[in-house]
Subunit: 375 residues, 3 copies
């Protein structure tokens, strides 16, 4: 039997696509509506769609050559998360967006990287990776952490002066910081794609095992990308629309849902890839996916969301809650300690996961902070 062309394109997680019609049914078939179920099913439907978007971007990138291809990956790599966040922003769910940014940053460097190091460490006594690249990425994340600390410092310091603090000043401060972060991201692309591309030979965005001949034709890749993007947008709207009701039914706070649950859904694709390649002892690729995804969220997605929020009329500043700032800072700290020597083992994976668990416990017990309440 001759299999159709799309068969070769299918991937293990594609059976989860069944969740897509299921979500639509739960939402629109009269009498079936259940917000918690809708939230879960829509969440599951995002996973394979994000995978298709990622693969289409990769194949397009392979056709376009390393320079433009790297740029495509760096821009659309977290497109699913960006779409979900834009949907949430347009509905004024600023708290959920901040929480999911936090969750995405810490989820990739603690949960994804921790699991990868354990997976790799289960087969290899000691694994190595390019120390220079790992340190640069960790420093980029430190920069992002500083970008989140400064608005809090501003808030506390300005708040001590009568009439010194204003939402306008805080938004201008946030826009300034976002411009710096965004500029650094552009320059780090110049570094990795142009001036120092040989350092990134084990490129996280290089399609693993594909070469140009195996890549999809440009037309196929573009069609897949467009279709998947539209579907992600539809599913995101269902997801975001049900989050409020679902979390109340489940008795979870908005922050816990954003930091832990949305982040796990949004990063499921990175998760499975990073673990798979760690298992094959390609730690440069594994770190590139995990840390690279965090860097992309911190230095690209976040500034874009802040700029977009102003255009959407629901301005989001960079002042995250204390637990969110603490979570990012502590995650980056532990990452620096673990990635600084260019080698890893399973215990380092355990240490990353332990920090993730501690932070998850914090957000589980934390009452709803006032600042994430939507008016």
């Amino acid at each position: 039997m001759k299999r159709p062309a799309w068969w070769k394109m299918a991937q293990p997680l594609d059976w989860l696509l069944i969740a897509l019609p299921a979500a639509l049914a739960i939402r629109y078939v009269p009498g079936w509506r259940n917000e918690t179920l809708l939230f879960l099913v829509a969440g599951i439907a995002v996973i394979p769609l994000a995978g298709w978007m990622g693969r289409a971007t990769e194949h397009l990138g392979t056709r376009a050559g390393p320079g433009i291809g790297g740029l495509l990956n760096a821009t659309f790599g977290n497109a699913a998360e960006l779409i979900i966040a834009l949907m949430a922003l347009s509905q004024g769910l600023v708290g959920v967006v901040k929480a999911s940014i936090t969750g995405s940053i810490i989820g990739n460097i603690l949960l994804v990287l921790g699991a990868s190091m354990i997976a790799g460490g289960s087969r290899f006594q000691r694994q190595t990776f390019n120390e220079t690249v790992a340190r640069l990425s960790a420093t980029s994340l430190s920069l992002a952490a500083i970008g989140l600390i400064i608005p809090t410092v501003f808030h506390v310091a300005a708040g001590q002066q009568p009439g010194g603090w204003s939402p306008q000043a805080e938004l201008r401060l946030s826009l300034g910081i976002c411009a710096v972060l965004f500029g650094t991201y552009i320059l780090s692309l110049v570094f990795s794609l142009v001036t120092h591309k040989e350092l990134y030979a084990g490129d996280p965005h290089a399609p693993d095992g594909h070469d140009v001949d195996d890549a999809w034709p440009v037309s196929t890749a573009v069609i897949v990308l467009v279709v998947a993007t539209v579907l992600v947008a539809i599913v995101s709207e269902l997801l975001v629309g049900s989050v409020e009701a679902a979390r109340k039914q489940l008795g979870l706070t908005e922050t816990f849902v954003g930091v832990i649950i949305v982040a796990i859904i949004g990063n499921a694709a990175e998760h499975s890839t990073a673990i798979t390649v760690a298992f094959k002892n390609k730690m440069d690729l594994s770190l590139g996916i995990a840390i690279g995804s965090s860097v992309q969220v911190a230095l690209f997605v976040t500034p874009v969301l802040v700029f977009a929020s102003v255009l959407l009329g629901n301005p989001m500043n960079l002042e995250f809650s204390l637990p969110e700032v603490a979570a990012v800072v502590l995650s980056v700290w532990i990452l620096s300690e673990i990635s600084g020597d260019g080698e890893c083992n399973w215990l380092e994976g355990v240490q990353l996961l332990s920090v993730y668990l501690i932070i998850a416990i914090l957000f589980f017990f934390l009452p709803e902070p006032a600042h994430v309440r939507t008016p």
Copy 2:
């Protein structure tokens, strides 16, 4: 003259054992009672007893072989401190226990390690140690520091919500964090005793210079361990019973006594051993003793005390005071900087000691915090 068998077991600090009957006399001879003197003499008596417990554990470990032996050392290595803390907990002195945990963690990595590096550096231009092991230990301490930061973050964040904060939530949070820390400790034992034991060839818990033939018979070791433990318990009760009155007579705060004085007493044995081996250029052993002791207190003794406090009906959470959290975080920070490159010199020892001095000055000038006041 033929010397008795115990003569070979005696050690330089054993003449301090004279403090044991002296402490009992001060406590029970009518008219001799003086709380400050009792506190000092009981404190001195702990030093040689802790040394005997340590040696008995080591010899038992040598007989049991590396695996079980390492486990014994990892479990009973800080038994004296554990006993003192349990005594203090049973009397509700939660503030003293937290202060002495803080003091033990920072004392080992700043005072003991700093003095060791200066001692070693006085003879050697440059000393080296296993970078991987040092980094893993430093990361374990970062994990512990995170475990202390999170409850404070919770307290501040939850405290901003009306009715959001409760001692019950904080205790559950602390129990969750302690479970994670304890689990990480167990897994780090698996790492150092099973899967990566060759990294620990310069094992801190390997009896220095003893081989199996020289080890005490199991019966002797067990008897010494039991007798020393009972004596430590007795002396600890005297020590804890006199701490309140003594510190008032001396005009010192509970925190200063716990962080600085009790910690120096409790770690005197580690102190002398770590310096001695540094002087012999065995820096792996020296770091193993100093950092290892901090890790043990942070990831093993602390969770055990929190669990025990619940059973004793005087629940202790993990919310330490701001100066205590700051002291641990700053100590771990400076340790990471100094231990990250696998080499040391006398100036790094001076830098560690300087941080210790700055922290000691802080606790000296600090007024008694409300939270350590026992009701």
Copy 3:
């Protein structure tokens, strides 16, 4: 035409000396007085004078031999900044002094070092430096950061106790910390000039390209040093006298002026030298100038100013504002990440500059904090 002897001593920035008579004219010619212009012109006049002081010290050091010469550089290297700060202190401008200390520390490690790495990286793919020396300097700065964190911790912790906090206790705490920092500085001089001087072969204070024969005669060097010092003192008085009026006219806060503007003026000499040598691939020298200058301000100038402030009757403690402490801590953090591996590239320079920009944005938007208001 035979050029006079001083011609060989002249340097590119010397045409800025024109600002010296200009500043005097603006100040004393009736009707010309304009505080903003005076501030700017006096600021410009400091730059070449600081350069002459630095060169005189260097030549004197070359004549005196490496030991005493190193000591001279370590003591007078930041003399211009010390003089400006003493002038400001004598007029009670404690806020400006603290701000300029902050600015000098962060300006050297972020702006000067960042620009140097970009300059060097524009020609070299990868530059290396002595990792041990860089780590020791970064640790010294961590020590200084800890010295600034502790008084804030004290303030917050003591402030929670009724009657627990007093300016006297805070000053005693600050004096104690300053004594420790100063002692560490002396010992680090012993390290770099005596016991480990071979590590500092690429000595930052070694006159670049001069040898003893080229050095100025002692008498010339002393005269230049004395004259330049007197002129710096005169110009500093003009500078400090006009800062209040100037910043009000410009609509800038005292903190922004101190942290950003005064710091850039005071470090212009270091700036141009550090970039020049980075361009010649002498990164050890470049780091030595940039980080060394920060260390000198943190561990030598700051304690001297605190001690001097007590003698001047305007006691200055070590309690800096939250944004100032945050700026120093975050700068030292990012420096540790970047300098820990003994190599650098242009992107690391960009990362340092980005942190500088973010901090500058913070201080730009920050309203005047209460504590820097002079009574």
